[in-house]
């Protein structure tokens, strides 16, 4: 069971993440809908989440920039990139994300990825 922070501009995906993560027994502790909001919320969190799920293409700051800023605040945060832009995989990993999921992914892939990150 992990605490998870979802960053994605698509509200339906927040719902989906919620339903999937519930199956895995995880808890969503925060939701942000763009990069700026994500950084703001992250700064205010008293307890950092164990995993951040990060979209890339969002209004304003993109996922890579947001990842860098969050890691600057707390370098130990585990960030899982989940984007429909498969081509940015390398850039995402270079910016400090632990792993990259290409949308659309299967439920098992997401849950397995989170388990793996928690085990590390």
């Amino acid at each position: 069971m992990a605490t998870i922070f979802i960053v994605d501009d698509e509200p339906t995906l927040h719902e989906l993440y919620g339903d999937i993560l519930e199956i895995g027994g995880h808890e969503i502790v925060a939701n942000a809908y763009d990069g700026d909001e994500a950084v703001e919320i992250f700064k205010r969190m008293s307890e950092p989440p164990e995993v951040v799920i990060m979209d890339h293409r969002m209004p304003g700051k993109d996922g890579i920039e947001t990842t860098k800023e969050i890691l600057e605040i707390n370098p130990d945060i585990k960030i899982l990139f989940a984007s429909a832009d498969a081509a940015i995989k390398n850039d995402a990993l270079e910016s400090g994300a632990c792993n990259f999921l290409s949308k659309p992914f299967a439920i098992v892939d997401l849950l397995a990825e989170i388990e793996e990150m928690l085990a590390e």
């Binding site: 698509e10 339906t12 995906l13 989906l16 339903d19 999937i20 199956i23 293409r57 429909a84 832009d85 498969a86 081509a87 949308k103 659309p104 992914f105 299967a106 439920i107 098992v108």
Partner: protein
């Protein structure tokens, strides 16, 4: 009689002494020339020349009347170009000096041998023919040069313009006066291109021919236009003494290229936008269908339908992935590096083996042995080929052979399936889904087109033949050639 290989040249004799003229005519006629007329005075000579248009005039210096042969020759010259040989007494040689101003072809000092006369006539006729041919050829090139809508120019070895055609003056806006005062090739270039132009002029002056170098040209009024220049050295006595070239205005071409580029970018943008957004939708659909299937109380009677729905959403995601991959390959965004064929093959194999059908793949591909210059898309090429082989094999157990061998500079990889085979007509078009756009390409996805694009982006090729020669029902053999290296 001395034999000369001559045409029946038509000759006009201008001679005031009748006996001499008579003898001359007989000599010439015996030898095979045609004497078309005789004149004794300068005025008669001029009239006869204009009327008879002979090939050659034999012109005595001393004539009846107050005008001599040189006067006659000058008058004829003004009206018609006929080569002339002066016949002169030794005492009249100083007059011949004056005759140089009328460009005589030759003169003979009297008395002369027949042999001398014929040699002189033949030499003069020959020179005259050559001069005429040269003039015709010059006229031809001058006409073509002036008619050309492109600028044609010549320079000396320092790059000063020595010639420009009409189009050149029109394009660049200079006048004949400007030209006469002196213009250089570099002046025709925009300032930022002059260093490069100077360097290239240097290369031409060393004897190099430059085909199609693009520059920005600059007109007299400072305005510019894109152009392409072809230049070649002017060689005299084995040494470059200048250059000549053609300048073509490529404004229209550049505009068309820009428009194509913009359209292309727009199309890319739309593909990207659509792909991204549809994949987000697909994520939601896949997520919930997946979730339904995993629910412990999901009714079995709906399972097949939901699984089919899920598979098709995944296929739509695959299409987006493939279209994006194609556009990346086509745009040349992908970089090549040395890769081992094996890991890509191994990953594709794993993906295919996860299918519910029983699949046997026999292969001799091993790790660390087969290298090419490629990228991550090699996996997609293999996956598409293997999927294709599985899809069309109706047997209970799918069997595929994947054989690699060396073929000159290439690795030859054969994918042999036991599917229903491909008709000869279809073999020709099976890899060209893009070219068949618009047709209903029933049943065949982008798969093989993608393989072709990937393989070609590595400098390789793909073809298909029957696995068993002459019996298409035994399945197909897809042959991929990939250049060795990295």
């Amino acid at each position: 009689m001395v034999e000369f290989d001559m045409e029946n040249a038509r000759i006009l004799i201008v001679e005031d002494e009748a006996v001499v003229a008579e003898n001359l005519e007989m000599t010439l006629t015996d030898t095979g020339y045609e004497v078309v007329g005789r004149a004794a005075s300068a005025d008669d000579a001029v009239n006869a020349a204009i009327e008879l248009k002979p090939d050659l005039i034999l012109m005595d210096i001393v004539l009846i009347g107050h005008k001599n042969g040189i006067d006659a020759s000058r008058e004829i010259k003004e009206k018609i170009d006929i080569p002339t040989i002066f016949l002169t007494a030794y005492s009249d040689l100083d007059l011949v000096d004056r005759a140089k101003s009328t460009e005589p072809y030759a003169y003979i000092i009297k008395p002369f041998q027949e042999r001398q006369l014929f040699a002189s006539i033949e030499m003069t006729l020959y020179k005259s023919r050559m001069a005429r041919k040269l003039k015709e050829s010059e006229a031809k090139f001058r006409d073509l040069t002036e008619l050309l809508p492109q600028t044609v120019f010549e320079t000396d070895e320092k790059g000063n313009l020595t010639f420009a055609n009409r189009a050149g003056f029109d394009y660049f806006g200079y006048t004949q006066d400007d030209f006469d005062r002196g213009l250089t090739a570099l002046q025709m270039m925009s300032p930022e291109d002059r260093d490069r132009a100077e360097e290239n002029i240097g290369r031409v002056m060393k004897g190099e021919q430059l085909d199609g170098v693009e520059y920005t040209a600059q007109r007299k009024d400072g305005s510019t236009f894109p152009c392409i220049i072809y230049t070649t050295p002017i060689i005299r006595e084995n040494k470059p003494v200048g250059m000549r070239g053609v300048i073509a205005d490529i404004t229209k071409r550049k505009a068309a290229e820009k428009r194509i580029e913009e359209e292309y970018r727009r199309a890319e943008f739309h593909i990207d936008l659509m792909g991204h957004d549809i994949n987000n939708m697909n994520q939601v659909t896949i997520g919930y269908l997946d979730m339904l299937l995993q629910a412990p109380d999901f009714p079995d009677k709906f399972r097949k339908g939901v699984e089919t729905a899920l598979n098709h959403v995944k296929k739509s995601a695959d299409i987006i992935y493939n279209v994006k991959m194609l556009s990346m390959i086509r745009s040349g965004e992908t970089k090549l590096r040395k890769i081992d064929i094996y890991p890509a093959y191994r990953s594709a194999l794993k993906a295919v083996e996860s299918s519910p059908r029983e699949i046997r793949i026999n292969s001799n591909i091993t790790e660390g042995r087969y290298f090419i210059s490629g990228n991550a898309f090699l996996f997609d090429a293999f996956l598409n080929l293997l999927n294709n082989a599985v899809k069309f094999d109706q047997h209970e157990i799918v069997e595929i052979d994947v054989d690699i061998s060396s073929s000159d500079d290439n690795w030859r990889i054969e994918f042999k399936d036991r599917g229903r085979g491909i008709s000869d007509d279809y073999k020709k078009i099976i890899f060209n889904r893009m070219e068949r756009a618009g047709e209903s390409a029933q049943g065949s996805g982008l798969g093989l087109t993608i393989v072709k694009y990937i393989v070609e982006s590595y400098g390789g090729s793909i073809s298909v033949e029957d696995r068993v020669k002459g019996d298409r029902t035994q399945g197909s053999n897809f042959i991929v050639l990939l250049p060795k290296g990295g």
